[in-house]
């Protein structure tokens, strides 16, 4: 592996300084030249989480990358505009779908090509999962609240979507983990949510029923809890099942 270390090239050259460790010198140079610049956000996150590895894994989440965040913000903004325009609380209807997609694409064999390897890491993949889910949920909540405030919808709808959001997110994640496919998970989560919204419209006559009907809160939370349990069992370490 040390093919780069030559002996004296030319006979007339100055004497080879045998006690200078050129390999060590090159490693010092390469370490600086090859290193990745960690941005201030990552360094701060590393100190807050007391784990540079967890910070790096968090910022490398596919659904936390800047293009995704911009797209999410754009969808929320469109939802706010549509709410103002049509009176239907689009923000509340979109929020669970966006969070479900984000969380479905955050973790698991469907989205992480090195999933097997990540299960042998000191920063456990469960820790990474938890950090990612919380981060995406927090970001989408903040975006959703901002969009709701902007479109000034009724209080019941402005916050009510948080609960179906946990259910849809949990569902997307659980299906993604079980089927080992993020796409299937996200499709399941958003698909079922679409059905719930349409069902709510058919049953109660207005599309926001899925979000504002308080009777649904308990079932939503039950779904979220079951999905969380399923994910916890599936990610138990070391794995009980292959």
């Amino acid at each position: 592996m040390n093919a780069y270390l030559p002996g004296p090239d030319r006979p007339g050259d100055a004497a080879w300084a045998a006690d200078v460790d050129l390999e060590r010198v090159w490693i010092g140079v390469a370490a600086r030249v090859w290193r990745r610049d960690t941005g201030p956000v990552e360094r701060l996150l590393g100190r807050l989480l007391r784990s540079p590895g967890l910070a790096r894994a968090l910022l490398a989440t596919p659904s936390l990358l800047v293009p995704w965040l911009i797209a999410s913000a754009a969808v929320f903004a469109a939802g706010a505009a549509a709410t103002v325009g049509t009176g239907t609380p689009w923000v509340g209807l979109l929020a669970p779908a966006i969070a479900g997609a984000g969380i479905g694409y955050a973790y698991g064999p469907g989205v992480d090509p090195a999933y097997e390897l990540s299960m042998s890491m000191a920063v456990s993949d469960r820790m990474v999962l938890l950090a990612r889910v919380l981060a995406i949920f927090a970001i989408d909540t903040a975006l959703g609240l901002g969009a709701s405030a902007f479109s000034a919808t009724a209080a019941g709808v402005a916050f009510g979507w948080l609960i179906p959001m946990t259910a849809v997110s949990g569902l997307a994640l659980a299906v993604a983990v079980v089927t080992r496919s993020a796409n299937v998970g996200v499709a399941a989560g958003t698909g079922l949510w679409a059905i719930a919204v349409l069902g709510g419209q058919a049953a109660a006559g207005h599309p926001a029923a899925a979000v504002s009907d308080r009777w649904l809160y308990l079932p939503y939370l039950a779904v979220a809890a079951c999905c969380a349990a399923l994910v916890l069992i599936r990610t138990a370490q070391p794995r009980r099942s292959a």
């Binding site: 592996m1 040390n2 093919a3 780069y4 090159w26 490693i27 010092g28 390469a30 370490a31 600086r32 090859w34 290193r35 990745r36 590393g46 784990s51 540079p52 590895g53 790096r56 894994a57 490398a60 992480d112 090509p113 090195a114 999933y115 097997e116 390897l117 990540s118 299960m119 042998s120 890491m121 000191a122 920063v123 456990s124 370490q237 070391p238 794995r239 009980r240 099942s241 292959a242």
Partner: protein
């Protein structure tokens, strides 16, 4: 002893993948041979703390992987190359190796030099800042080896590491194994019997979940004298032992 497996059994539903394996390994390079489906990968995954045994005891680096805190300590000192390692296409080689160095909780200040050393040791220095999607299969495998050795592991587990490497690279890889094996335990699971012969001091042969041979390469070779099919002495020993086990 870095690895102490006692009566290790692992079942998946009704299928028994690993059946009562007893293994002890200190520093050195150990080959793990066997046909497809023999349970080598399951055994390696158990030692990599990815799955836990159905029964039996496992002690790795003097610690119990069933305990959360001790498992974390094991994982900091572990290197693992799975058989099918995916890669992040947009990462460079250096970013890829660095990612796992950080996840192994190496002190952040030591990471750049460790990453540079690992990349040099696998001969990828010219591609350190190339994106993984531009690399050939053999280079990707070497990047995988680099992430496995970046933390100077005390226990290095390699599942089919030489897939895609040309003969010259395999020679360099075996030299790397011998170097690492001086201080650490290296366990290499491979189909290629000649890889084993050249680099390993001890060999274990698995068949249908059981360990049917454990000893030096010379001992395996001697089992093949007279009977056994194969072009090389070690291959003959391998097939002779398997034939006996299946009888």
């Amino acid at each position: 002893m870095n690895v102490e497996l006692s009566d290790l059994t692992r079942r998946f539903g009704r299928r028994t993948a690993v059946d009562g394996v007893c293994l002890q390994a200190g520093p050195g390079v150990f080959g793990l041979l066997g046909p497809n489906g023999a349970g080598k990968t399951t055994l390696l995954r158990t030692m990599a703390t990815v799955i836990q045994p159905t029964s039996g005891t496992v002690r790795l680096l003097g610690r119990d992987p069933g305990q959360h805190g001790q498992r974390r300590e094991i994982r900091r000192r572990l290197g693992y190359l799975p058989q099918a390692l995916g890669y992040y296409p947009g990462f460079t080689v250096a970013e890829f190796v660095e990612y796992f160095a950080l996840l192994k909780e190496m002190p952040a200040g030591a990471v750049p030099a460790a990453v540079a050393t690992a990349i040099e040791r696998v001969g990828l220095a010219d591609r350190a800042r190339s994106k993984l999607r531009t690399l050939s299969g053999g280079m990707l495998r070497r990047a995988g080896i680099a992430q496995a050795i970046v933390n100077e592991p005390e226990l290095l587990l390699l599942d089919e590491p030489t897939a895609g490497l040309d003969p010259e690279q395999r020679v360099e890889f075996r030299a790397l194994l011998r170097e690492v094996g001086q201080r650490s335990t290296v366990i290499v699971s491979t189909h290629l019997v000649e890889d084993v012969g050249a680099a390993c001091s001890q060999v274990a042969l698995m068949n249908a979940g059981r360990l049917v041979f454990q000893g030096t390469t010379a001992e395996l070779t001697s089992r093949g004298e007279g009977h056994g099919i194969g072009d090389a002495p070690l291959e003959r020993g391998y097939s002779a032992v398997l034939a006996t086990a299946r009888a």
